[in-house]
Amino acid sequence: MSFSCREQELDALLAGELSPADAERVRAHAQGCAACAHALAWLRLERGWMAQRARRMPARPALDFSALEARLASAGARPTPAPGAAPHRAARIASPRSQWSHRGVMAMGAAAAVAFIVFGVGQVRPVSSPEVPWSQEVLVSGMLQACVDPSGEAVAALEDRFSACLIASPALPEY
């Protein structure tokens, strides 16, 4: 495979999708290519921003399983068992389709209503426990334990400074 400054290959490099040989080749090229270094900086920025944005998910009623459970129960839904699979005892009864487009109000469990708290931008919750509403400020949170993937020394140093994980890409050598 030839390489001629293709952003998609740099993107695949950051995503950990290249074979070791291709990764090494792309990395070696990027080290000496200003255009690729520039593109990599943007790609890394996008990934870092998206990772932080994903961690700042507001607590929404739709993310409470009890809301879905109520809806499945009212629809009498359960999956069609796979051929040869033994149905689970606790399973509910089947329903082919819900009436989503005709339903004005979502069937919400009481617990979901109680759990519905709106959080402001700038708050964060650890990735490892998505069901726990986040309530800590982004830069002073205990997110460090969820940080497994600083993608370079510069980023790692910045993360140390802020005690926060800023990027979610796989660990990569510095270049």
């Binding site: 593109a39 943007w42 509910r92 819900s98 980023v155």
Partner: protein, 197 residues
Amino acid sequence: MLAAEDEAPEAREGERALLRRARTGDPAAFRALFERHAPAVWRFLRDSFRDEAAADEATQETFVRAHARLTTLRDEDRLSAWLLGIARRVFLEARRARGVFLDVDGEESEGLVEAVLPTPTPEDLLLDRELEALLAEALGHVREERRSALLLRIDHGLPYEEIAQVMGWSLPKVKNEIHRARLQLRERLAAHVGGRP
């Protein structure tokens, strides 16, 4: 939701085991899958609708459908893409039901010369409140289909082939649209990176 590449093999095996249990009707397993994937599905739908309440409803609908069709999922490793594909269909149906056929997002500038963009510094990585709002605004200026394709890649970590399936596009179109989305986003955000005060 993480890309398969980002996950440890044990995590992937754990998810496969959950999926197998969920397919036999084990509610606890389905709940575990919901809790793991619902935030990403909701985020994808929020970004598609640009409306949190609509994303709530559509997330629930996505998992109601997923629950009913779990046994039709062929490749257990593609659960994320499968769920996002259902979410995409739910979004399109809802949009059609609302009578919205045209994407009325902001005007687009094409033919951007990338060389004029500043190079981001590590300091730019910190997404503060102001920048997050600017990012949301910039995403809003990318037309919906293109934005969804971009987010499937940079937020949800899907490989290009899976994005092609979710969007119903050819692979070259996926690559082209994502590239254009990136350029549009960068153009909008260029003033805020590379030596911000």
